[in-house]
Symmetry: C2
Subunit: 344 residues, 2 copies
């Protein structure tokens, strides 16, 4: 057993010298180094941007999707979508623990969700057992390796595994909302009807409080209605976030010229940067959680309309994000019910 | 003369409904709407990431670069690099002012630098007169249009035009450093030897003060030496920022395990996200000014190593950024001398 790099660089095959996430190909041999963890994988939760891309490239044909996913993993040694660059996460059971893996409380047989992206996780798929087209989950027989620096959450006993997996996939988002939204703020959640959007809307309602205003922008009537029924926003706008001028006008009808203090972008489609920027007030904050965000479109877009807004890249990790997110599932009966229906 | 959209959407040709920046093609007819400004253009300052791409695609052959630049502008109606998505800015002389253009103090004949990106500015090139391979400037005969929401800076009398152009191109960067760096901070400027890097290093030295620590990472020995000679950093590391583990080790030699409070990324090459993240402490800030930044590489990279850092997208605009930047040129004799040599 070799002593290996905490960040997993010893598994990078090409290009040499990069980190596992940036690598084209990593070594997915399922023999662990002394600081690694070996997992038997049960389910992959493919990142929404990636899953959407695979699904549309395969015209929702499950057999083709299977082939595409298996192809990516055998070519790259990890489930990193070559178009979106994104990954997802997984749940699995601990099979073997390297003697120098830092967490000494972990035991063989523990079930956990990885909180690092699949885009850097060595993975081997033996068999795809099921692809769930509606919730981005893929049941497999397979194995994965977690590096020393990899983070994870032992699955709680009181929440179904697949529900926990679905919620933890986007745990970074509500955790940031908790930090960014202040009492009395006007907040807009773009794509607020989706998985991360619902968690963000819940947290925004809590933080903004009774004097705040939470607006959700959603594409489908159905998801929009759900948000109002669940009481997760003060206002819901049904509109296409790729149409900035239309979005701007509709938000102004609610907020007046002032627009929003904080805008959270949770969509899973490209070209929504400008909408996010236009509806944020000067000195306001845009938090881009969407993996379909383009850096240059955001940077140049704000400059192009002379908007002095702070734009934050959605870090998937924040301290205590797993606890905060599982806390929402425990506290909100309506969200738990919905997520059980959708993900379990 | 028609009354047109403040953001210039009336000039978008395809795809309809998008903003000028996102458009594939905009209308560069040089007849202005009543809220627009017409400029005779003297010099383009191509964004460094874009210029580097054009230069390398053409093997530094000036005739080929001329052809490529003219081709892009005639195809898209704007100088937006199709690979990097970025633009740059220009200096020009006011030729005609629409009666509803907001700034009533502006006069025909005033010289100004546009502070909105070329990636959304209607442009027509009649002739390329000179391409300066070493400073990204392209002298042309041509015309451009500024929208009602477009920002600009009238060129000051006490600073040579091309120097002002070069400095204003990156004015957003030192303005953000001024906001982000606190007294006593340990700051690292990656690509600190370049144009924006030098301005950021100067501002970081001012803000961090005598108890702070400013580290510059530079690729070339020459630029590194220049920074030390100019007294713009406490430490200079000569290294390749695309090699995260090497950078991490070298920074730790200076800072210890704590690494940096604030990291400013000013390089003009891809794949430096991970270096930036690894050398930032938990709760620290990474400011990505580089247009070669990949959103997903940053978002997933931080998660991948479990780093709770705030990552900010380099908005090209910040209130007073032009004044602050020209102020640095006025205050720092060494920077002014160097920039006169490089850009005038
Ligand atoms: N930064 C990170 O670390 C990280 C981690 C995980 C996921 N993510 C990203 O976060 C994003 C959201 O993930 P998720 O799981 O919450 O996805 P999701 O459940 O599929 O939600 C996406 C939502 O966006 C809405 N939407 C799509 N197109 C829209 C449009 N044009 N206008 C308005 N709304 C639109 C969808 O509405 P309809 O259903 O009506 O189409 C849906 O409600 C994805 O991009 C994902 O990749 C980021
Ligand atoms: N966000 C915005 O609104 C905005 C606006 C304007 C510009 N920008 C971007 O800001 C960036 C910097 O612009 P600039 O005009 O300052 O460019 P620049 O003068 O060319 O500076 C780039 C610096 O990065 C250094 N560098 C290149 N590769 C490196 C590596 N592998 N490791 C370490 N250092 C490396 C270069 O060193 P060598 O010279 O030794 O190679 C140079 O000193 C560009 O990406 C540009 O597109 C952003």
């Amino acid at each position: 057993m070799i002593k290996a790099c905490p960040f997993g660089t010893h598994r990078v095959m090409e290009p040499k010298g990069t980190m596992p996430q940036a690598a084209q190909k990593i070594d997915n041999t399922m023999t662990i180094a002394d600081n690694e963890l070996l997992l038997d994988v049960m389910t992959l939760n493919i990142d929404s941007a990636s899953f959407t891309q695979v699904k549309s490239a395969c015209n929702s044909d499950v057999a083709k999707m299977e082939e595409m996913i298996t192809g990516i993993v055998s070519e790259r040694g990890k489930m990193q979508n070559p178009v979106t660059g994104s990954g997802g996460m997984l749940i699995g059971e601990v099979k073997e623990i390297g003697p120098n893996f830092p967490d000494k409380t972990l035991k063989v047989g523990d079930k956990l969700a990885t909180l690092v992206s699949l885009s850097l996780t060595p993975l081997k798929i033996e068999k795809i057992k099921n692809i769930n087209l509606s919730n981005d989950q893929v049941d497999i027989d397979g194995q994965a390796v977690l590096f020393e620096s990899g983070i994870y959450s032992v699955l709680p006993a009181d929440i179904p595994e697949k529900l926990a997996l679905a919620a933890l996939d986007v745990a970074g988002a509500p955790a940031q909302v908790e930090r960014l939204v202040k009492k009395g703020d006007t907040v807009c959640i773009i794509g607020g009807g989706g998985k991360s959007g619902i968690l963000c809307a819940y947290q925004a309602m809590v933080n903004a409080g009774p004097d705040g205003k939470v607006i959700v922008i959603e594409y489908s009537e159905e998801n929009a209605k759900r948000i109002l029924d669940m009481n997760l926003a003060h206002h819901v706008i049904v509109a296409d976030a790729t149409k900035p001028v239309e979005i701007y006008e509709k938000v102004k009808e609610i907020t007046g010229e002032d627009v929003c203090d904080v805008v959270i972008n949770n969509v899973n489609v490209p070209n929504t940067e400008m909408s996010s920027i236009l509806i944020t007030k000067d000195d306001g904050i845009v938090y881009f959680f969407s993996m379909a965000t383009s850096f240059t479109k955001a940077a140049l877009g704000a400059e192009g309309v002379g908007k002095d807004v702070q734009m934050i890249v959605g870090n998937g990790y924040a301290k205590n994000h797993a606890d905060l997110t599982l806390g929402i599932i425990r506290d909100s009966e309506v969200i738990r019910e919905l997520f059980e229906k959708l993900y379990v």
